[in-house]
Amino acid sequence: MAFLTDTDASYLRERFAELLTRPVGLRLFTEPVSGLYVPGRRTCETCAEAEELMNEVAALSDQIHLEVVDVSTRREEAAQWGVTEVPTIAVGPGDTDAGIRFQGLPDGYEFTSFVETLASAGSENGHGLAPETLDALAALPADVDIKTFVTPT
């Protein structure tokens, strides 16, 4: 285990066993890292790490289902999920698109948010929102796009 220590892994395994009451889908959009330098082309510096981390997370619970999507060969799927950058991880209950994305490697402090989101997606009413908030959201007249800029430190 490269990212998670044995202590972290066993802690998370216990938490997930307790919290995840339904399947959670992790869909990692990535591209192969060739090691070949192409001038003007941005290489994905964290794609390999993201895949490693997602594999480690998916191994922590039978409720977590990881699908790795290579955007270089599955462009249509990436477009369908609105993914324009790699790595991007979509998190949702089952195989549904809940509109939740993590763009970039969710490590450091961001890993905590990632785990919390995963746990929320894996439990009924896991959003933990107040009834007033849910009423207001149900009445939204238009779509809302929320971007949260973060750093790992």
Binding site: Q103, H127, A136, A138, L140, V144, T151
Partner: protein, 78 residues
């Protein structure tokens, strides 16, 4: 909120990995939250205030929200 409503999408962007996006949204400190390219604020806020920002982002007119939430001009591309 994205889990609770099909109208809400939420993307967490790692600012160091995507500097072009961070520049476009004038991210100078994190966490910075931008809603519908109209409303922005810094840091974690209580749920009612976050909801106010969401409602401001979809409101017609000037979208005035809580005092801590300020309107932004859509930033130029690039």
């Amino acid at each position: 909120m994205a889990l609770a409503s099909p109208r809400v999408r939420s993307t967490s962007v790692e600012a160091q990995e995507f500097p072009e996006l961070a520049r476009r949204y004038e991210v100078s400190a994190v966490p910075k939250i931008v809603l519908n390219e109209r409303v922005e604020f810094m840091g974690a806020v209580p749920e009612p205030m976050f909801l106010e920002a969401v409602l401001a982002a979809v409101s017609e007119g000037d979208g005035a929200g809580a005092a801590e939430i300020q309107e932004i001009e859509p930033a130029a591309e690039g």
